[in-house]
């Protein structure tokens, strides 16, 4: 099937259609809304389901095969975050804070996007490696930690500079003050680190992977109905709400500027396709390759505000939430997923030597 056919096929699934319904509802100012308790519960449920599924699969395949892909994903994710920063700061002329916040939003991963990816593949009858859930768990806090670390470095430097300038001019003895603020900035860094790692997404995901690994397919049987069979239905409900919120954000899209709109489309495409090639090279299956690409392509819009508001309060949340949820998320689930699947299918069909040749040529 050609890309356009696949995209059209993808649009005509309940998940995407209900997402669009949510957007439409928001645009016509309907009062349609999924109650807060439900839309707060669904991400927890989705992550538990993803984790259980991943853990059960990993029990079959073991840990070893996952080491290289995970390491590569970590390195790629960090490099990409730094790359985003350079683009945003230099080309986009955003200030340091917004640049780091946006860089890490796009360096981080989107658990909801991941869920949609899984059911996109399911719908196509394609399997993916279970350990990708574990990569999701590790990547989740990673880009934030990097961004927070870098921001703190910048802030500390600025404060040190200020202090020195101040000390030189006035020669007064409030030496301690600057160090104190740097200290408090360090405390804050550790606090944010702690919170990233103990964040609910990471905890429920890692917990569920371990539980899935422990109980295996047999132990899973009594809860399969809830955590597997209802999975797609739950995403549908959640995407109504995401559509509504994205729809409300569309007004803000104009405000984020052309540069950021371009960024929000180009970066996922670039990162995703890099991911697809790398994962194929690493020997992942067609489905695993798409999920690997999706991890790198996705931007975080649920975890991001929670972490970044505390870590980089100077950054404007309207920028990173709007671009991640209002532009990148719809683009990823509607367009990029089928595109990546098509690419993955094509390059998986290349004879291994060719692919290798292609790569050695390319690098």
């Amino acid at each position: 099937m050609d890309i356009l056919g696949l995209i059209q096929d993808n649009i005509l699934t309940p998940i995407v259609l209900f997402f669009i319904l949510g957007i439409v509802a928001a645009r016509i100012k309907s009062d349609l809304k999924i109650p807060e308790a439900i839309s707060e519960f669904l991400p927890i449920y989705l992550l538990a389901a993803i984790g259980l599924h991943g853990g059960i699969e990993m029990r079959k395949t073991g840990f070893e095969s996952m080491m290289i892909p995970m390491l590569v994903a970590i390195v790629l994710s960090l490099l990409m975050t730094l790359n985003h920063y350079q683009i945003l700061r230099r080309l986009g002329k955003f200030n340091v804070f917004d640049s780091y916040a946006l860089a890490s939003t796009y360096g981080a991963v989107g658990a909801v996007t991941f869920s949609v990816g899984l059911s996109f593949l399911k719908n196509q009858g394609i399997e993916s490696e279970g350990y990708i859930a574990a990569i999701l768990a590790v990547l989740e806090p990673l880009a934030f930690i990097l961004a927070i670390f870098m921001t703190n470095m910048v802030v500390s430097k600025q404060m040190l500079a200020k202090k020195q300038a101040f000390a030189k001019n006035a020669e007064i003895e409030n030496d301690g003050l600057g160090m104190l603020e740097i200290d408090s900035s360090k405390t804050k860094l550790f606090q944010v680190l702690r919170e990233s790692i103990t964040g609910k997404a990471v905890v429920i995901l890692i917990g569920s992977i371990i539980i899935g690994y422990t109980i295996g397919k047999e132990g899973f049987a009594p809860i399969k109905l809830l955590f597997e069979d209802l999975f797609v239905g739950a995403i549908v409900i959640f995407l109504i709400e995401m559509g509504i919120i994205a729809g409300h954000r569309l007004d803000d899209v104009k405000k984020v500027g052309v540069f950021l709109i371009g960024f929000s489309l180009a970066i996922p495409t670039l990162n995703g396709i890099i991911g697809v090639f790398v994962a194929t090279y690493l020997g992942l299956s067609v489905g695993g390759t798409v999920m690997f690409g999706l991890l790198l392509a996705s931007a975080s819009f649920i975890a991001a505000p929670a972490v970044l508001r505390t870590a980089i309060p100077q950054a404007k949340p309207s920028l990173y939430i709007t671009s991640a949820l209002g532009i990148t998320f719809p683009y990823n689930i509607i367009i990029l997923l089928p595109v990546m699947l098509t690419i993955s299918t094509i390059i998986h069909d290349w004879p291994a030597t060719d692919l290798f040749g292609y790569w050695s040529h390319d690098l």
Binding site: S39, I245, R249, F301, I302, P305, A306, R309, T310, I321
Partner: protein
Amino acid sequence: MKLYDVKLLSVTCEILAQKNVIEILGKHQVSGYTVWEAEGNGDKGIRGKGLQNEKNVKIEVILPQNKLQDVTEEIARTLFSDYAIVLYVSDVKVLRPEKFD
């Protein structure tokens, strides 16, 4: 029963600044407070309709006159510029002033 004068500090701010406010209270030995979720509108636009983290909270603190100044000063200095936040102070009377010292 006699009623004693104390101050009531009301802070309405985005939910992700709640931790910061309560930390500041703690630093000034004010441990009591009451908090609930709210929606609202202000300079930073309508809040509370979308993602859970974009809601507001309202925090109420009964505290003695002598702590009021420091607490409000620190909230204003550290949070006013970066967060959606509003603060007001009023006079109230309580039965057990020692509870709020």
